[in-house]
Symmetry: C2
Subunit: 144 residues, 2 copies
DNA sequence: TTTATTTCGGATAAATTTATCCTATTTATA
DNA sequence: TATAAATAGGATAAATTTATCCGAAATAAA
């Protein structure tokens, strides 16, 4: 469904959110250990999230990644997916047609629309704080 | 959502269905031209569909690919996707966790479940003849 | 101001997916 | 039986995604 990069990005953002809510800045090393991902690759993905204003980086000694506490509740899964995988999941044709729309639909256009709307809905109505709180309470997990 | 191979596979199967309903056997060349896909790669995908009993191949002169007329209405999109992409889309974790289930869920487990069920539903309730008839009536298209 | 720490970013490598090529095998027809 | 036409399948190449490495730039603290 999502690229590996996007999976890492989502998990990393959740982990950062959990820590930022406790005023704790984290490094790529800590992140990749907690979410079980390759460190250098994860660092690249973090850069993309920084560029897209999903997370904040602080360079230099005692630096790391964080999210403004009061922003955690406003960040949607959709923003993370968009930052890493782009808008293909929303706008791309299910069968890869270049031109696929109501007037010139691919064979599964209508059927896919339902699924895609469901997905879009989910991504746009799920915020980082919801996901982070489940991690904090031990209801959900970031690895294994 | 699906791999390129799977996209080609779905389109190829629809094209074969359209032709088989008119007692017309088709070649990889015709198929790849009609669905705008690389010929040799498409041929490989057709082999996978043959192995999984989605389509039938006839070797030798005057050979080609076809689907038993009375089988077209029974073939579900799900079978094609399974033959090419496997069951990852059903069973895989949205965030790539090896162990992700009700007892040990990833952060988006419940939210994803809804989308995945919608997708599964769609794939298991869409048959080749439905898709083929839209192509025949010019309502939907296989390329551009 | 120097040093240690840490992100940034470019270059490169490995793995996977996508795509091509060529030969073997099969089969209908002459 | 010989021939031509067609799928099967292995080997290989190209493209993309995933992953690693290393030096440059930034920054806090000594």
């Amino acid at each position: 469904m999502f690229s590996k990069a996007c999976e890492y990005g989502i998990k990393a953002a959740i982990f950062i959110a959990v820590n930022s809510s406790e005023n704790n800045r984290v490094s790529p090393k800590e992140i990749s250990e907690e979410i079980d991902s390759p460190q250098a690759f994860t660092a690249k993905i973090l850069q993309a999230l920084v560029k897209n204003n999903v997370i904040k980086s602080v360079r230099g000694a005692y630096g790391g990644f964080e999210i403004d506490k009061d922003k955690i509740a406003t960040i949607k899964l959709a923003q993370i997916v968009y930052a890493i995988d782009g808008d293909g999941i929303y706008n791309g044709c299910g069968l890869g047609l270049h031109t696929c729309n109501e007037n010139h639909p691919c064979p599964v256009h209508d059927k896919f629309k339902v699924v895609r709307e469901e997905l879009r809905d989910m991504l746009e109505n799920t915020t980082l704080d919801q996901l982070a709180s489940d991690i904090k309470s031990g209801v959900s997990f970031l690895k294994i």
